[in-house]
């Protein structure tokens, strides 16, 4: 018992891309083309702002009557404006004030938004409600009008205006930080840190700030762009500080002289537009890079583990026994050598199901059992031809009523789905559309598939709801999905699946999300409906108990292949494939319960004594 456990299962292979996840965002941005271009451009703008005095010797504010609207020349490389001031110098010095102004906005917004967001998101309580209300209020303010009002009172100070704009835009930071913090706060790893005794400050610094850091940087780039635009807008209106050379005031001057010299408008417009675009591109590139590396957020089921598929595997196939022979009906579905693949970004195809062959007869329940990633659900979805994005049948055939579904058109499939082949999903709640009543989600398909009138469909829906054991069909019919329990929702989904009298039912883990007592009821319901409608059923599950309860025949899947198939009693009695045998060995149901703990043995007391050293201090 006490020997060390041998480490089985997938070995620790580390793909290159996963390693690169730890490389900093900055380094990854350098490899992203648009991110790199944006960063180079922004670096140039910053440099030219700092080195304005070195690049040009001209004074941005020195007016000269001789040079009014002068064209490009050695003295004025980009010409001169309506007051004879050097355009290049004004452009360079202007970038100084644009950037500095945007920086003021950014700092004010970040300080207010991030701190209040952290506090409200992490500690919640009254500060949460108050700050959310204030943020909503500030966001509802017509920002530009407020800026005008402030200008009316406080006079033309660029710094003050940008500071006020920082306050006005701080809810953008607040909402972002608040949302991510309150999501992270309830993560289990934060609970684990609490149990480990970490202080709030350390939890925020270690677990929470690391999560919100990147989104904050992205938001900062966006807000800088907006601030530059707003500042330019104010100055363009002539509401800025006239002593300060700026892109906005240059625009104003250019617009006033648009008939005389349109290039005066061009330079500042280009500067503003390119800077804004660069900032937006940078933000987008950062988001793309982050999304690429956040595969870890996907939960179980969504994770597509790259699998090493066994090239060929012997399929252990058991002959029919007396029970299955007696129940032989017509053949409904014949899958031969099915392969399912997913298109990868690099053009290759990853195969997740291979060489799968199975037959389902009318009135027969065929179980597909396997662990996660075994390809059982992929097989089920490919029968319906409802694989997720990028997935498709890449080989083999799926014959149903003489038609190969693998090659059928989308239109033919739409005609078959619901009417001939139906589907019961795993998660009851997420499989109902929260925006529509339960009734309308039952009625709509019946009107399409069976061509019923609304009244007929409603009557039939109520009948079905009663049939699947819903106590008050009328009330459930008008209810929204979030108003019923998970067990009820699953009954609704079953009602929907059988609403058009299908011949074949694909049930994907139909009871996995349910409590045991509800599961037993739903299994009973499925058995009754199956025999009532003499449907063929493909039942996907990972639970041997469910297989034992419902299935006539079972196929065991591993790594996208069937390893053993046959009548359910034969397989449970004499599993032959080593993998099937190992699965049966892992079943706990038949094991003995543990004996009650004997009076504390001396060994344990000693161990406890040594462990207890910290506690007595």
């Amino acid at each position: 018992m006490t020997q060390a456990m041998p480490l089985q299962g997938p070995t620790l292979t580390v793909a290159e891309e996963e390693r690169s996840a730890r490389i900093s965002l900055f380094r990854r941005l350098l490899k992203n083309p648009s991110g790199l271009v944006a960063m180079i451009f922004l670096a140039l703008i910053v440099l030219s702002a700092i080195l304005a005095g070195v690049i040009t010797s001209a004074d941005p504010n020195a007016a000269s009557l001789q040079d009014v609207l002068a064209h490009a020349s050695a003295a004025h490389p980009l010409g001169a404006d309506s007051a004879g001031r050097d355009v290049l110098a004004r452009l360079l010095y202007g970038s100084r004030f644009s950037l500095a102004g945007a920086l003021v906005t950014l700092v004010v917004a970040a300080v207010i938004g991030v701190t209040s967001g952290l506090i409200a998101g992490y500690f919640g309580r009254w500060f949460d409600s108050v700050s959310s209300w204030v943020a909503g209020l500030v966001m509802a303010l017509p920002g530009f009008v407020v800026l005008l009002a402030a200008r009316a009172v406080l006079g033309p100070s660029m710094w003050l205006a940008m500071g006020i704009f920082g306050v006005l835009i701080s809810p953008a930071f607040f909402r972002l930080v608040y949302a991510s913090v309150s999501a992270v706060r309830n993560e289990l790893y934060v609970d684990a840190a609490r149990v480990s005794g970490l202080s709030d400050a350390r939890i925020i610094a270690r677990h929470i700030f690391t999560v919100v850091r990147a989104p904050i940087i992205i938001q900062a780039a966006m807000i800088t762009g907006i601030a530059i635009a707003i500042q330019a807008g104010l100055e363009f209106l002539g509401l800025g500080d006239t002593n300060v050379p700026s892109w906005g005031s240059m625009l104003n001057d250019g617009f006033a002289n648009i008939y005389k010299n349109p290039t005066l408008l061009l330079w500042p417009a280009l500067a503003i537009a390119l800077t804004s675009v660069a900032l937006t591109l940078l933000a987008n590139a950062m988001r793309d890079e982050l999304e690429r590396s956040s595969g870890s957020k996907k939960r179980r089921g969504a994770t597509k583990r790259a699998q090493v598929l066994v090239e060929h595997e012997l399929v252990v196939s058991h002959p029919d026994d007396a029970r299955t022979e007696a129940a032989l009906g017509e053949e409904l579905l014949r899958i031969t050598d099915l392969a399912v693949g997913y298109d990868q970004a690099d053009g290759s195809v990853t195969t997740v199901v291979n060489d799968v062959s199975l037959v389902v007869r009318r009135g027969e329940v065929h179980g597909l059992i396997g662990e996660s990633g075994s390809g059982k659900t992929q097989t089920a979805w490919s029968i319906l031809r409802l694989l997720p994005d990028g997935g498709r049948v890449v080989g083999g055939s799926i014959f149903f009523e003489g038609k190969d579904l693998a090659k059928a058109s989308e239109k033919e499939m739409t005609a078959l789905r619901g009417k001939k082949i139906a589907y019961i999903p795993q998660e009851p709640m997420s499989n109902l559309d929260a925006s529509f009543t339960i009734g309308s989600q039952l009625v709509e398909p019946m009107r399409v598939c069976l061509g019923l009138s609304k009244k007929e469909a409603t009557a039939r829906a109520l009948q079905l709801l009663a049939r699947v054991g819903i106590p008050n069909p009328e009330r459930t019919f008008t209810a929204y999905p979030h108003e019923v329990s998970g067990g009820m929702a699953q009954r609704v989904l079953i009602a929907g699946a059988v609403s058009c009298n299908p011949d074949l039912l694909i049930a994907d883990e139909p009871t996995t999300a349910l409590d045991v007592t509800v599961q037993a009821e739903v299994l009973d319901l499925l058995r009754e409906l199956q025999s009532e409608l003499t449907m063929g059923v493909v039942l996907v599950t990972h639970n041997f108990g469910v297989v034992a309860d419902l299935c006539d025949r079972v196929s065991v899947m591993r790594n996208g292949r069937i390893v053993e198939t046959g009548p359910v009693r034969t397989i449970f009695a004499q599993p032959e494939h080593p993998y099937t045998q190992s699965l049966f060995e892992a079943i706990l149901e038949d094991g003995d319960a543990r004996e009650p703990l004997q009076d504390t043995p001396s060994v344990e007391t000693i161990v406890l004594e040594t462990i207890g050293k910290g506690a007595s201090k």
Binding site: M1, E187, V195, G197, D200, R300, S372, L597, E604, G612
Partner: protein, 286 residues
């Protein structure tokens, strides 16, 4: 007997409901339970039964309205953050979802060192301890500088167990620690739990919805229903010969992985439901 590690008496937990003057939701309605050193107490129930809440109350993560939770004679139901810190080397936790219980952006070493740093263990000792912990849960030491996402569910759960073991606790609250795992992985992780217990003498409060899992690991089992413990006793007694009507229903509802016996169990269940319905009817009439 002084030899009780954790003594829970009449614990009530209320969760406030959002909204003005709404009645709070009573998740636990006076629950009593005790755990001895080195013992596994299984807590079984369906969703909403309050089993997870009880685990969280022991960890100080759920608001205890009344009642007491005595850990070695000291009430830990309402501790300050500082007092909790002192307790963190005594009581630890392993959560259900191995995908969210590890911070995705920290390496395994950083995750395992976290509880140690609170104890002011030096960096070198901590690294040594990390290798030791990984060894204890059957992972190679090379796992230390990898990220959680590079591991499968079962391996992640081993990491979570290693984190719980870091401070050598006497009690680990295990909240559905194997429900998210595949069958074969589940069996191996359960073996690991047993092996660690036999080696270190740690006690478990083992929360699960799965009667078979609880039965295989627990010395004693408590069955929860609607915020109350309805049955409480030795594992074999509760999981094989339950007395309370709810436990009986629960027991017969779980399908047994054998077509022949399941057919029998299905019939037993129908019969039980019929009998209980009859009894309820009579109780209603009376």
């Amino acid at each position: 007997m002084t030899d009780v590690l954790l003594d829970i008496t009449n614990v009530v937990v209320d969760y406030p409901i959002k909204g003005f003057r709404k009645e709070p939701f009573r998740a636990l309605k006076g629950v009593s339970l005790d755990i001895r050193p080195g013992e596994t107490v299984g807590l079984v129930g369906e969703s909403g039964s309050g089993k997870t809440t009880l685990g969280r109350a022991v960890l100080g993560l759920a608001p205890v309205t009344s009642g007491s939770i005595l850990y070695r004679g000291k009430d830990i139901a309402h501790l300050s953050r500082g007092e909790r810190l002192a307790l963190s080397s005594e009581i630890q936790v392993v959560f259900q979802d191995p995908y969210t219980s590890l911070n995705p952006s920290l390496t395994i070493e950083q995750i395992l060192v976290e509880p140690l740093t609170v104890r002011k263990v030096s960096q070198r000792d901590a690294s040594k301890r990390v290798r030791d912990l990984l060894d204890q849960v059957g992972l190679p030491t090379s796992a230390a500088d990898r990220l959680p996402r590079e591991f499968s569910g079962g391996q992640r759960q081993r990491i979570a167990i290693a984190r719980a073991l870091a401070l050598e606790p006497r009690l680990i609250v295990c909240d559905e620690p194997v429900s998210a795992l595949d069958l074969s992985t589940q069996a191996r992780v359960l073996e690991l739990f047993k092996e660690i217990q036999e080696r270190t003498g740690v006690a478990y409060l083992f929360v699960s919805h799965d009667l078979a899992v609880v039965r295989s690991l627990s010395h004693r089992v408590a069955v929860m229903y609607h915020g109350e413990i309805v049955e409480w006793g030795d594992a074999d007694q509760v999981t094989a010969r339950p007395e309370h009507p709810y436990t009986q229903r629960l027991f017969l509802a779980a399908p047994v992985p054998d077509p022949v016996r399941q057919e029998q169990r299905r019939a037993d269940r129908q019969r039980l439901l019929a009998v209980q319905a009859e009894q309820n009817l009579q109780a209603g009439v009376l």
